[in-house]
Symmetry: none
Subunit: 408 residues, 2 copies
């Protein structure tokens, strides 16, 4: 814990306020000439956001540090107030939690997906043509039943969405992190998963187990098509994170739909709320759960997905979908509402980026930046300036009047 975190803790007061962090995944974008110098957020019709903006402050936040493009893990850890350089989480761990797998201490977890290999072992499609979930489930059963254990290590293979799955290695004396068994682009062979710290005996043992697993798994699916190979990433053991309710004195609920975000929220001690399918669901559930929790993390995925597809119109529509549902949330208005992304996913880049995401912060004491709209260009002019995402949660707490005065 940093010195500053210790100070925040010392100053923390209880609150009866409700705090909502509404994350539009990959919200930030770039104004490009090809789109008339508008971002999807600027082009979107957002009457409810516009109205909210009248009594809000704005700013921009960068996820990690200048120029650093985060994955969803560091992006969300930062939004949850954890320094993403201090606290690192492997994607395998997050994904395993998100699939509802009950990780045990010492488990080595890896995010995995099926891929296509040519006869020489070169990866020709990293996503095996994005096979259906049912096919993925069939292949995962094949691996589970066909392998069982490697030496004394139990192998758990759990299908996710589409071509994605999770592998857990459960046994004594394993330790991550290992390098990805993933070339990260097509045209290369699958590299071996080697210990990142080669001095660790447990990590070397883990690498040996993973290598044996690979041998047996590949022979089990070698005649399948198109999914005749597999990639493992983020091969790590579960880290211990300070828990959200202790750290912030807030009972926290996760209203996410996608597994990874649920997993990440659970890792910091939020309560996962199940059975949500749309932003309307999420806002309604918030209203029903207001008495049980103080903090609500609401995650909207499709902004990011359309950004990754480079689909400007769909990203704009995904924003408008949230705007349309917004009155539901505002009917039982949380005292503190932050709306932002976990990173930018500019359509022009078709992927995550380092560009600071826009932030809107609304509370009875946010004041007004007197801006007409909430978007990247307005956010550049806001009173919050450009700052590191890890401070947002502290700002939300301050807006909930959760901090006593520092010094006399």
């Amino acid at each position: 814990m940093s010195e500053l975190d210790r100070l925040y803790s010392e100053l923390t007061l209880p609150t009866s306020s409700k705090l909502v962090l509404l994350v539009l995944d990959g919200l930030g974008d770039l104004a490009m000439k090809s789109e008339g110098f508008l971002t999807p957020l600027e082009a979107a019709h957002t009457p409810h956001l516009d109205e909210l903006t009248q009594e809000s402050s704005q700013g921009r936040i960068y996820p990690v540090a200048p120029g650093i493009t985060p994955g969803s893990g560091p992006g969300h850890l930062a939004l949850f107030g954890y320094d993403p350089l201090e606290y690192r989480v492997g994607r395998g761990v997050i994904e395993a939690l998100g699939l509802g797998l009950d990780l045990q201490s010492g488990d080595l977890a890896a995010r995995a997906n099926f891929c296509t290999l040519d006869p020489t072992g070169i990866v020709t499609d990293r996503r095996a043509g994005r096979i259906e979930t049912a096919e993925c489930q069939r292949l995962c059963r094949l691996l589970t039943e066909g392998i069982g254990t490697v030496d004394d290590v139990e192998i758990i293979v759990q299908a996710g969405e589409g071509h994605r799955f999770v592998t857990i290695f459960r046994g004594a004396g394993l330790e991550g992190p290992l390098n990805d068994a993933d070339p990260h682009r097509e045209g290369l062979a699958i590299p071996e998963a080697k210990p990142i710290n080669p001095g660790s005996e447990k990590a070397n043992h883990a690498a040996a187990i993973v290598a044996k697993f690979y041998e047996r798994a590949l022979s089990l699916i070698e005649r399948e098509a198109p999914a005749n190979g597999l990639l493992l990433r983020g091969i790590t053991t579960q880290p211990a994170l300070p828990l959200f309710p202790d750290r912030y004195a807030l009972r926290a609920a996760c209203l996410a739909i996608y597994p990874m975000y649920k997993g990440l929220a659970q890792l910091v001690g939020m309560t996962k709320i199940e059975g949500l399918r749309s932003v309307t669901d999420q806002f309604e559930r918030y209203r029903r759960l207001r008495d049980e929790f103080d903090f609500f993390f609401i995650h909207h995925k499709s902004t990011d997905k359309h950004g990754e597809d480079g689909d400007f119109q769909q990203k704009k529509a995904a924003i408008e979908e949230v705007d349309e549902a917004l009155p539901l949330l505002l009917e039982d208005r949380p005292e503190v509402l932050a709306i932002t992304g976990d990173h930018s996913t500019p359509c022009a880049l078709r992927g995550h980026s380092w560009h600071p995401q826009p932030l809107l912060l609304h509370s009875p004491c946010s004041g007004s930046d007197k801006l007409d709209r909430f978007n990247e260009t307005s956010a550049n002019l806001g009173s919050l300036g450009v700052f590191e995402a890890k401070y947002l949660l502290r700002l939300m707490q301050a807006n909930a009047r959760m901090f006593d005065k520092y010094g006399a």
Copy 2:
């Protein structure tokens, strides 16, 4: 190396992009009532910059830390991505390198210039009426031949431009840094060069050698006019810096005209390109060298010089000179172009200052801040916010897509 630098290194990918850092020395200025509340950059006619601005981002960078006015050394080190608080370089070392002197390990180097003393030893003109280079050369020969060695320490005196020269003390057991033998303003006597860390035996030895050198040098020129005295500054031994090509995976060329900037670039491992006399030369040479290097540092001095003279019109003209030549650079447009200063040199202050300098960053993924012009006021509205100069190079790398994603 900081934890964050290690992360940047880990994430670094190779690039085929060309990156240009165009430094208009001392570019930043202040909007004063006396000049109709315009800065030289705001008053300048800059049609090419204006056009570039349409597809660029802007921000402001402070060279070191709030309120810190840097010399050219820290100002440039920060632009080169080196924390100017972590990496310190004496001006003597830079100047010596810039004059083409081949510094040896353990050499103590000092930046020097002739000055005018009154009969009581008070400095009446810190630049000795800005004597001609030929006169400086004559006096330097006088010192070299007249002194030779002090105890066992070889004395090398090398003339620079105008009243400026460099002194190198070459011998065993010397160590810097020493305080400047320069009162930094007129009306005072020359102070003694004392060790900054008085506990160092080598530094005490160095101080004793410098004191003996002073005695002999002053007696050699006491009958000269107006240059009858000398000042030593930045008396240091050469530090080891991580080299630019290793640190950033970029082959770097220095297209500077003035010795000090060449020296500084050479110190971090850039290749000095010789024979440049104008900004047109510099841009043309960039075009010729595109295949040999990835990164080009182009330095334009006169903005700073006119700022130091308080000459608003000439500083404005110096900016317009760059703008006029800009199409040459843009014809073979680098993928990433950053235009900024190493610090502000406001005409009203007639010297370097701490005010953040404006920054323009242009790349295929800079997006647009939808600003009409590039200047201090526009830069205040930009998406890059206000940040420390040491991050600019990392942002340039990000814009060249040189960083892999951090975490999953």
